[in-house]
């Protein structure tokens, strides 16, 4: 049987060769892939062949098909809705329409993406250590950070390939079924949705790799990562609402400006959760008529025509969210790096 990784050979080494990391290998680059690309290739092959990934892939595909089915059946009504300024964005409607029986795809992804990230990363480093492969690997002439980078990039490559193909599948199916051509604006919005999703999964991946460095047992790191995920999806809202009840004054006695200020504070607190950042950002990108992620005053709305925003404006609105996600990834990765680089490698 041919190794499935064979099909990716040129793809990955080609992609990585163009980026900066491999320049260090100097003249070898033109024929010889550097250690990092070899390691990434091996990680990708490992993931593809693992049952864990196949199960998650099946889960994600099922959700995708189910949400697409629901939105296709309701598409006619959504597009015909005169009150909706976004009704002409057919492909965005495909992603965001639901009759209430199922959440839309991007809401699903805010749950499943976290799970995907965690499951791809929770045993990245400690499994190598427990199997005794780490010492062997570290005795090779490779830098330690290349191990961390390969774990991260390998899983991220898989995730990007996965979401990109899902998005393209959706566009293709939409073209076949409706026959409506795809606007550039829609295409960019969908692609930025894919990028955001990859970033969001990347955050959970970085977090779970962090735990896999910190904890020796794969189960401990998996449970901790799932604990963090549960905290943010379920308990964080409850905690925030308790804080609001306990510390915020009764809105009846407040001026309008104060109410607005407290509302913004509440939203900022909620945005500490990465899933909130992701949902905010995807909602804005997939629904062009969304103008602000916070409350707007009557003065601000005065004279506004309910019309979809151009792509650039939507991106500007979600830019803080994107920065937040990237920063969260960077923090996780830095900590991982700090803990791993000078640690004693021993099985």
């Amino acid at each position: 049987m041919v190794n499935p990784a064979v099909y990716f050979n040129d793809l990955f080494s080609g992609k990585l060769k163009n980026s900066g990391w491999l320049k260090s290998t100097g003249s070898l680059v033109n024929q010889q892939p550097g250690p990092l690309s070899i390691m990434v290739r091996k990680e990708v092959a490992d993931h593809i062949r693992s049952w864990r990934f196949i199960v998650l892939l099946a889960l994600l595909l099922l959700t995708f098909i189910a949400t697409m089915y629901v939105s296709l059946t309701n598409l006619k009504a959504a597009v015909a809705n005169e009150n909706d300024p976004d009704r002409l964005f057919l492909y965005l409607k495909l992603l965001t329409t639901s009759d209430g029986s199922l959440p839309t795809f991007h809401i699903f992804v805010s749950f499943l993406g976290a799970l995907l990230g965690i499951s791809l990363g929770f045993d990245a480093v400690n499994a190598e250590q427990n199997n005794g492969t780490m010492t062997r690997l570290m005795a090779q002439p490779v830098y330690r950070d290349q191990l961390l980078l390969s774990k991260f990039l390998g899983a991220l490559t898989i995730v990007s390939a996965l979401f990109l193909s899902l998005a393209l599948l959706m566009i293709g199916a939409g073209l076949l079924i409706t026959g409506v051509s795809l606007e550039a604006e829609e295409f960019f919005r969908i692609m930025s949705f894919v990028v955001l999703t990859v970033l969001y999964v990347g955050f959970w991946l970085a977090l779970s790799i962090l735990f896999s460095v910190k904890f020796r047992q794969a189960t401990t790191s998996a449970l901790t990562a799932i604990g963090v995920w549960l905290f943010f999806t379920i308990f964080y809202r409850i905690v925030i609402s308790m804080v609001v009840k306990g510390f915020f004054p009764d809105p009846v006695y407040l001026s309008e400006a104060d109410v607005l200020w407290y509302n913004n504070l509440l939203l900022d607190l909620l945005r500490l959760a990465p899933s909130q950042l992701y949902t905010d950002a995807t909602t804005t990108l997939l629904m062009p008529s969304v103008r602000s992620l916070g409350p707007l005053t009557v003065e601000q709305m005065a004279g506004a025509i309910p019309k979809p925003l151009p792509f650039r404006e939507s991106v500007l609105i979600v830019w803080p969210q994107v920065c937040g996600l990237v920063a969260a990834i960077a923090v996780c990765f830095t900590l991982t790096y700090y803990w791993f680089m000078r640690r004693e490698i021993r099985s």
Binding site: R49, G132, R136, V142, S347
Partner: protein, 338 residues
């Protein structure tokens, strides 16, 4: 003298207040097979890790091939092959793929990878198990695969940490024979650590006895034994056909002989310690007494005895310092902390 290929000077590693390696000085010449001997927990693995730059020493310098291993680990790793004590492979990949992965990582040109991998596996005797999953390999096969993994990069130095652990005796013999053959053919320097004395005795040019983080002695087996047992060099044990009729009288007569230091009798066996080799005189003595000799055996000291002797001495030292009780407390506290 030749430039040493491995040079450790004042190497020290502390874990908290525990000194795992204490002021270690060691030099290994190119092409030599050196055995690092010591009981478990003597600091052998820690020393090896410091040589590869996988652990930072608390003090001292480890130089391999003239390169400082702490500051330039990558350059050292290019020249050194290391096999850890419990070598692990990616179980879901075949042995061939495992080895190919390492070959690629070590920078072997892509077109040579497949052939070299196959050659190496045949060299270590795994030619007919190329495409088996590494998870299905037995312990001995994994050890062989580990050796192939070390050799595939054509290193100048190979470091083997407990290479014979978990292999059956005939396998050990083959394995060590292979190492010796390779070292002699290609001039590779070999450093192997072990607590199995007989095995090391078979292949090593030089051994170092390593206990409690200190190198107690180093040299070849004969030098070590001469050095250690210089006080009671010749021990002859004589087995008689029947028990002595009058033990006390015979023993006193023996003791009166010139050069005999000590005599002890147990049943039919008499053990005589002498300063010189006076076996013929002793035999003549028994013949004159009309006692039937069944066997004469001159005791030779092997590594086992050397090791035993050093280890015993060291143990009594420890007890004097009250160090062992301190060790116990420390490990106890560590457990509680966790």
């Amino acid at each position: 003298m030749e430039q040493p290929i491995i040079e450790l000077a004042g190497l020290t590693k502390c874990y908290g207040s525990l000194k795992a390696v204490d002021q270690l000085d060691l030099q290994i010449r190119p092409g030599e097979i050196y055995g690092l001997l010591g009981p478990n927990g003597a600091g052998k693995t820690t020393t090896i890790l410091m040589m590869l730059g996988l652990t930072e020493p608390s003090a001292g310098v480890a130089k391999v091939c003239g390169i400082n291993a702490t500051h330039h680990p990558i350059a050292v790793k290019r020249k050194v092959g290391y096999m850890p004590d419990n070598v692990g492979f990616y179980d879901s990949m075949t042995a061939f793929d495992n080895l190919q992965y390492i070959a690629r990582l070590s920078g072997l040109p892509e077109r040579e990878v497949k052939n070299r991998t196959r050659d190496m596996m045949e060299l270590v005797g795994l030619g007919d198990a190329l495409h088996k999953k590494a998870g299905a390999y037995s312990r001995g096969m994994k050890q062989r695969l580990g050796l192939a993994d070390v050799l595939i990069r054509q290193p100048e130095v190979i470091i083997l940490d407990e290479p014979t652990l978990g292999i059956d005796p005939s396998g050990v013999k083959d394995f060590l024979g292979l190492i010796r053959q390779l070292s002699r053919q290609q001039g590779i320097t070999v450093l192997l650590s072990s607590h199995h004395l007989h095995q090391v005795q078979q292949v090593c040019d030089r051994v170092g006895i390593f206990v409690g983080g200190k190198l107690l002695a180093d040299g070849n087996v004969e030098t070590l034994s001469r050095h250690l047992f210089s006080g009671d060099q010749f021990v002859i044990s004589i087995t008689l056909a029947n028990a002595l009729p009058d033990t006390l009288q015979v023993l006193t007569a023996l003791k009166a002989m010139e050069g005999i230091k000590d005599v002890s009798a147990e049943g039919r066996t008499i053990e005589i310690t002498s300063a010189r080799n006076i076996t013929p005189d002793i035999v003549r003595f028994f013949v004159a007494k009309e006692l039937d000799i069944m066997g004469v055996h001159k005791k030779e000291y092997g590594l086992e005895d050397i090791y035993q002797r050093y280890f015993e001495n060291n143990l009594t030292d420890h007890e004097k310092d009250g160090k062992s009780s301190g060790l116990f407390q420390r490990s106890f506290f560590r457990k509680v902390k966790k």
